[in-house]
C-alpha cells in the first residue's frame, strides 16, 4: 500500500503542476490549450540541451523554465491571440496544430529515442516497505511548494485578485481599469513555467521523450475537468485523486472478487483517467469545484 501512496504522490505532483496551469489559462481565456502539455516536453528537452552544453543541472532547469515561459508568451501573442479572434473552436484546433508542430520539431532535432538528464546515481531509501529515491522526495516537495505558493498568490496578492477578476468576468475587469493584456501574459508565463517544471522533474525522475507531454494529455485534462475548469484547488485535488485511482486499480486483485486472481493489464493505466473523465462529464460536467457551466 505504501507503494501506491508513493506512486500517487509522484504522479499526482506531475499531473497537478500541469493541470493547474491548464485550468488557469482556461479560466482567463475560456479556451482549452492542447499544446499546454508540450511545454512540459519542451522544458525537459531544453534542460537536456543545456546540460549537454556543460551547464549544471540546477541552472539548466531554471533556465529551461524561464525559456519555456517566455516562449509561451511569444506563442500567445503571435498565434493564439489571432486564433482566438476567429473563435474558440479555431483556437482549439490551432493549439492541436501547435502541439503537433512542437513534437515534430523536437523529433527532428533530438530524434525519437528518450534522452536522460545527467543525474547522480542515488540510493533508494526504504520507506515503510517501499522504495523512494531522494529525487522523488525532491520532486514531491518542489511540486507541493509551488502549488502552495500559487494558491497564496492567487488568494492574497493584488496580482492574484486581478487574475481572478479577469477569470470571473473579463469585460467587467476591463471596465474596472485592470490591464487585461498584462494579466493574460502573466497567466501564460506562470502556467507554462509550471508545465516546464513538471516536465523537467519528470525527466529527472525517468527520461524525456517526444511523447512525454502527449502521454500526460488525458490525465491532465481529466484532472482539470474533474476539478472544475478554472479552479486551481479543484485541479490539484483531482490530480492526486486520479493518480491514486490509477495506481490503486492496477494493484487490486480484481479476480479475488470472483474467487480467482486477475490483475488489470498495466497497458490500461491511462484508461482510468478516460473513464473518470467520461463519467464526470456525463454526470457532473461542472466538476468538483466548478461553478455552474457557462455557455458562451
Amino acid at each position: 500500500m505504501t507503494e501506491v501512496l508513493i506512486d500517487t504522490a509522484v504522479r499526482g505532483s506531475i499531473i497537478a503542476l500541469l493541470a493547474v496551469g491548464l485550468t488557469l489559462v482556461q479560466g482567463t481565456l475560456q479556451f482549452a490549450n492542447i499544446a499546454h502539455m508540450e511545454f512540459a516536453t519542451l522544458g525537459g528537452y531544453i534542460a537536456v540541451a543545456l546540460t549537454g552544453a556543460g551547464l549544471g543541472l540546477l541552472l539548466s532547469s531554471v533556465l529551461g523554465v524561464v525559456i519555456v515561459a517566455v516562449l509561451a508568451v511569444v506563442f500567445y501573442r503571435l498565434l493564439f491571440r489571432r486564433l482566438l479572434g476567429s473563435g474558440t473552436m479555431i483556437a482549439l484546433i490551432g493549439s492541436l496544430a501547435l502541439a503537433i508542430i512542437i513534437r515534430a520539431v523536437l523529433q527532428l532535432v533530438f530524434g525519437s529515442r528518450p534522452r536522460y538528464l545527467p543525474t547522480p546515481l542515488e540510493r533508494g531509501m526504504d520507506f515503510h516497505g517501499a522504495l523512494i529515491t531522494p529525487s522523488q522526495i525532491r520532486l514531491i516537495c518542489i511540486a507541493l511548494a509551488l502549488l502552495a505558493t500559487l494558491a497564496v498568490v492567487l488568494k492574497f496578492t493584488s496580482l492574484g485578485r486581478a487574475i481572478r477578476a479577469v477569470a470571473a468576468n473579463p469585460d467587467l475587469a476591463d471596465v474596472s481599469g485592470l490591464n487585461r493584456k498584462r494579466v493574460v501574459d502573466v497567466v501564460w508565463m506562470v502556467s507554462a513555467g509550471l508545465a516546464a517544471t513538471s516536465g523537467i522533474l519528470l525527466s529527472i525522475d525517468s527520461a524525456v521523450g517526444i511523447e512525454l507531454g502527449f502521454n500526460l494529455l488525458l490525465p491532465v485534462f481529466a484532472a482539470a475537468i474533474v476539478g472544475g475548469l478554472g479552479s486551481t484547488l479543484g485541479a490539484t485535488i483531482a490530480a492526486y485523486a486520479l493518480a491514486f485511482a490509477e495506481s490503486f486499480v492496477l494493484q487490486v486483485d480484481w479476480g479475488a472478487l470472483a474467487g480467482g486472481a486477475y490483475h488489470l493489464e498495466v497497458g490500461y493505466r491511462p484508461a482510468v483517467g478516460f473513464v473518470l473523465l467520461v463519467v464526470m462529464l456525463a454526470f457532473r460536467p461542472q466538476g468538483l469545484m466548478g461553478r455552474t457551466v457557462r455557455r458562451g
Binding site: L79, I90, I100, F221, G273, R295
Partner: protein
C-alpha cells in the same frame, strides 16, 4: 506510374469519405470530434475480425456500421450538457480508449501486431485491372457519400445543424431538439467513417493500433480546414490536396540525406504548418462555406 496514380487516387477517395464525415460534424454542426479515428477503427476492425473468422465482408461492413452508428449517437448525446471544448477532449479520450482496447485485447484484435491478410477486393483480378476496379468501387462509394452529405447539408436538417453551430440557444428556443439533432448527425457521420475504415482495411489488407493514433484524426482535420470548414465540396478538395502532399513527402529522403526518424518528423511538420497556416491566414479554407442569409430567400 499508372499504378502509383491509382494508388494515390484510392487513398484520396478513402480520405475524402473520411473528410466528408468529419466535415458534417466539425464544419456543419460545430462538433469538434478529435476522436474521428475511433469510428474508422471500429469499421476496419469489424471487417478484419469477422474476416479472420471466415465471415463475409458485407457482414463486417454491416456490423461495423451498426456499432459505429450506436457509438456515434451515444457520443453525440454525451454533449447534452457539455460545452464544446470539454466534449472535444472527451472524444479524444474515447478514441484513445478504443486504441488501448485494440492494443491490449490480443486474442481478439491481434494486439500490437494488428490483423493482417484481410480479404482484399476484386481478388479475381490482378495488377492494374484490379487497382482500376478497386478505384472505381471507392469512387462510386465516394459519390454516394458526397450526395448524402450534400443533401444533408442543404436540406432543412442541415440548416438546423448550422443554426446549432451558430447559436444553440436560439435553435433550442425554436423548439429544435438540439441533443437529438447532434446525436443523429454523429451517428450518420460515424457510419460513413466506419465504411471508410472497412474499405481501407480491405484495401491494404491490414489494420493495427498504430493506425489509430490521434495523428490520423489530425490529418483529416487538416483536410477539412484546408478545403473549407462547412463546405461539402471543400472537404473533397482538401482531402485530395492533403493526400497528395502527405503521400508525396514519403519521398523526402530521396532529396535530402536524413534519418528515417527525421523524415517522419518532417512529414508531420509539413502537415502541422499547413493546418496552422490556414487557420491563421485563410480560416475559411480554399472553398469557403456559403451561408445563405435570411432575406436571400424568395
Amino acid at each position: 506510374m499508372v499504378d502509383y496514380l491509382l494508388g494515390v487516387g484510392i487513398l484520396a477517395a478513402v480520405y475524402a469519405i473520411n473528410a466528408l464525415s468529419l466535415n458534417l460534424q466539425v464544419g456543419v454542426t460545430g462538433l469538434l470530434n478529435f476522436g474521428q479515428v475511433a469510428f474508422v477503427g471500429i469499421g476496419a476492425y469489424s471487417v478484419a475480425i469477422l474476416d479472420s473468422h471466415g465471415v463475409h465482408w458485407a457482414v463486417g461492413f454491416a456490423v461495423g456500421g451498426i456499432i459505429a452508428g450506436v457509438a456515434g449517437a451515444l457520443v453525440g448525446r454525451l454533449g447534452r450538457t457539455l460545452s464544446s471544448d470539454y466534449w472535444a477532449i472527451a472524444t479524444l479520450a474515447l478514441a484513445e480508449l478504443v486504441r488501448l482496447v485494440a492494443l491490449n485485447q490480443d486474442g481478439f484484435t491481434g494486439g500490437a501486431q494488428g490483423l493482417s491478410a484481410v480479404a482484399g477486393l476484386w481478388t479475381n483480378l490482378s495488377g492494374t485491372a484490379r487497382d482500376t476496379a478497386t478505384f472505381a468501387t471507392i469512387a462510386a462509394l465516394l459519390v454516394v457519400t458526397y450526395v448524402v452529405a450534400r443533401r444533408v447539408r442543404n436540406g432543412q436538417y442541415g440548416r438546423v445543424l448550422v443554426l446549432i453551430r451558430e447559436n444553440p440557444d436560439l435553435a433550442a428556443s425554436l423548439r429544435h431538439d438540439v441533443v437529438s439533432a447532434k446525436a443523429r448527425v454523429m451517428a450518420l457521420s460515424a457510419v460513413m467513417a466506419s465504411v471508410c475504415g472497412g474499405f481501407y482495411a480491405m484495401y491494404i489488407s491490414f489494420i493495427g493500433p498504430s493506425q489509430l493514433l490521434p495523428f490520423a484524426t489530425f490529418l483529416v482535420f487538416t483536410m477539412v480546414v484546408v478545403g473549407g470548414l462547412g463546405n461539402t465540396t471543400g472537404a473533397v478538395v482538401g482531402a485530395l490536396l492533403i493526400t497528395v502532399l502527405y503521400d508525396g513527402t514519403r519521398f523526402v529522403r530521396d532529396w535530402i540525406d536524413i534519418s528515417a526518424d527525421q523524415a517522419a518528423g518532417i512529414r508531420i511538420l509539413v502537415i502541422g504548418v499547413v493546418l496552422l497556416g490556414f487557420l491563421l491566414v485563410r480560416t475559411q479554407g480554399l472553398v469557403p462555406e456559403k451561408v445563405r442569409t435570411a432575406h436571400a430567400r424568395r
